[in-house]
């Protein structure tokens, strides 16, 4: 993946100036006590989109059929676009002169705040699609709730992203059904994929002090409130796909949000960050 789209690269000083002047003044940005949690949470939002977007973009030129190749590339584009907005706001909240690009390209693995689920290798199409569906179903509910955030800046990003994520969910749930309830081979692969990634899904709902702080400030919903909504979508789609929900724990693998990652993240960053590390400040 090359650089993030440069059009929206925020000029931090200018953004801060404009945000202060904007009608939709955001009281949370100046809240010093809230800043560490708000920044961390925004990095979680941005990093999930960035790492999943990067993973999905790895399919570009390798999709099983042209339409899927294009669909995956477009989904990745949407996610990278969301990253630009979330990390742009994170940089602004942090207020130390870093940009969205700095956060994406110059942080080390332990500073990344994405879920372990999104950094898993793509595997086959079944793993890629199943992971995307399980994440989309969560992402959709999260963004829906965030459109009512007490932070107008968060709410406007969520409203923008939600339109695209609705489309992601529509596509991924449709494909999970078609392949789950497809041939013997596709069914077996989808079930294997579900079993493989299931233990990583619980992290989406595992709230810690950061989640509690932003929930208390009314910025984000309590993650526990999203769980039944996610479970309903997942149960409906898996049922239609003739797939069985695994009996293993769904929260066996956590820690990504706190910076404890699988070894896979390091390899992603090595590829993604190489250019900015080797040629600092390079642009084109």
């Amino acid at each position: 993946m090359p650089s993030l789209p440069d059009a929206a690269t925020p000029d931090v000083a200018r953004l801060a100036e404009r945000a202060a002047a904007a009608q939709s003044h955001d009281p949370h940005i100046a809240d010093v006590a809230l800043k560490p949690a708000f920044f961390d949470w925004l990095c979680r939002m941005g990093d999930n989109s960035l790492i999943l977007g990067h993973r999905i973009s790895e399919w570009c030129g390798h999709g099983p059929v042209l339409e899927e190749d294009i669909a995956l590339a477009n989904t990745a584009l949407d996610l990278i676009g969301h990253t630009q907005m979330w990390l742009g706001l994170a940089a602004e909240v942090e207020g130390s002169g870093r940009s969205a690009d700095d956060l994406a390209f110059l942080r080390d693995a332990m500073k990344f705040r994405n879920l372990k689920l999104v950094e898993l290798p793509n595997g086959d199409m079944a793993v890629t699609l199943m992971r995307e569906f399980l994440f989309d179903a969560f992402h959709y509910e999260l963004l829906t709730a965030l459109t009512k955030s007490s932070s107008p800046r968060v709410a406007e990003i969520a409203a923008k992203a939600l339109k695209e994520v609705s489309y992601h969910l529509e596509r991924s749930s449709d494909l999970v059904v078609r392949l789950g309830d497809g041939t013997e081979e596709s069914h077996a692969r989808m079930q294997a994929a579900l079993n493989k990634v299931w233990g990583y899904t619980g992290e989406m709902f595992a709230a810690d002090a950061v989640d509690d702080a932003v929930a208390e400030a009314g910025i984000a919903p309590a993650l526990a409130d999203l769980l039944p909504l996610w479970q309903r979508t997942v149960a409906e789609v898996l049922d239609e796909a003739t797939l069985s929900q695994p009996e293993q724990r769904f929260d066996a693998q956590t820690g990504g949000k706190q910076g404890r990652h699988t070894e896979h993240l390091g390899y992603i960053l090595a590829e993604m960050q190489f250019l900015q590390r080797a040629y600092p400040g390079a642009s084109w």
């Binding site: 339409e67 990278i80 676009g81 630009q84 990003i157 409203a159 339109k163 489309y167 529509e170």
Partner: protein
């Protein structure tokens, strides 16, 4: 003596000459992505909203707008990125819909984008489609979706089952 600043109506007209880089038959104003033109003192401010968050054309569009306005003699210019309210295909003008169709792209179906999305979802869940995307070439409503995505993020791929031509659908958003 101070120079007379062009009116905002004049600026809108100039922007109406800037084509979308991916779909050059429609202009950026017809697409509804120019949200506001105003003067702040002697600085011209143009607010632009992205179609899709990651649309790679965004930076090209900004560059084309800037080039056009500089050619018209605007020296003090600022482009603003506006996220809210998010862009919707409801803002694509009627004239642009006709131009899209003539160009071979089925325009977004009538009604609001939110209705379109909801109707699409309901159709998917009930296993039948109630959205009719007419073929831009022969006008037949006997069409089928090949893929939810197409050559750009804002389009989906369709096929006409009568004239058998594939075509792009500028999807509701």
């Amino acid at each position: 003596m101070t120079a007379v600043l062009p009116s905002t109506e004049q600026v809108w007209d100039w922007l109406g000459e800037v084509p979308d880089p991916e779909i050059p038959v429609v202009s950026v104003t017809e697409l509804g992505i120019v949200r506001e033109v105003r003067w702040e003192g002697e600085t011209l401010v143009v607010a632009v909203t992205p179609t899709y968050s990651g649309c790679p054309a965004t930076s090209v569009i900004d560059l084309m707008i800037e080039t056009q306005l500089r050619e018209k003699g605007i020296t003090d210019l600022r482009l603003e990125r506006r996220l809210s309210p998010p862009w919707t295909t409801d803002w694509v003008t009627e004239a642009a819909r006709d131009k899209l169709r003539a160009y071979g792209i089925a325009p977004p179906v009538d009604g609001t984008a939110s209705d379109g999305l909801m109707a699409g979802r309901a159709a998917r869940l009930s296993g039948r489609s109630n959205l009719v995307i007419a073929c831009p070439r022969c006008g037949s409503s006997h069409t089928e979706r090949v893929s939810q995505y197409g050559s750009t993020p804002c389009k989906a791929s369709y096929r006409c089952r009568d004239c058998l031509e594939p075509f792009d659908y500028f999807k509701c958003h």
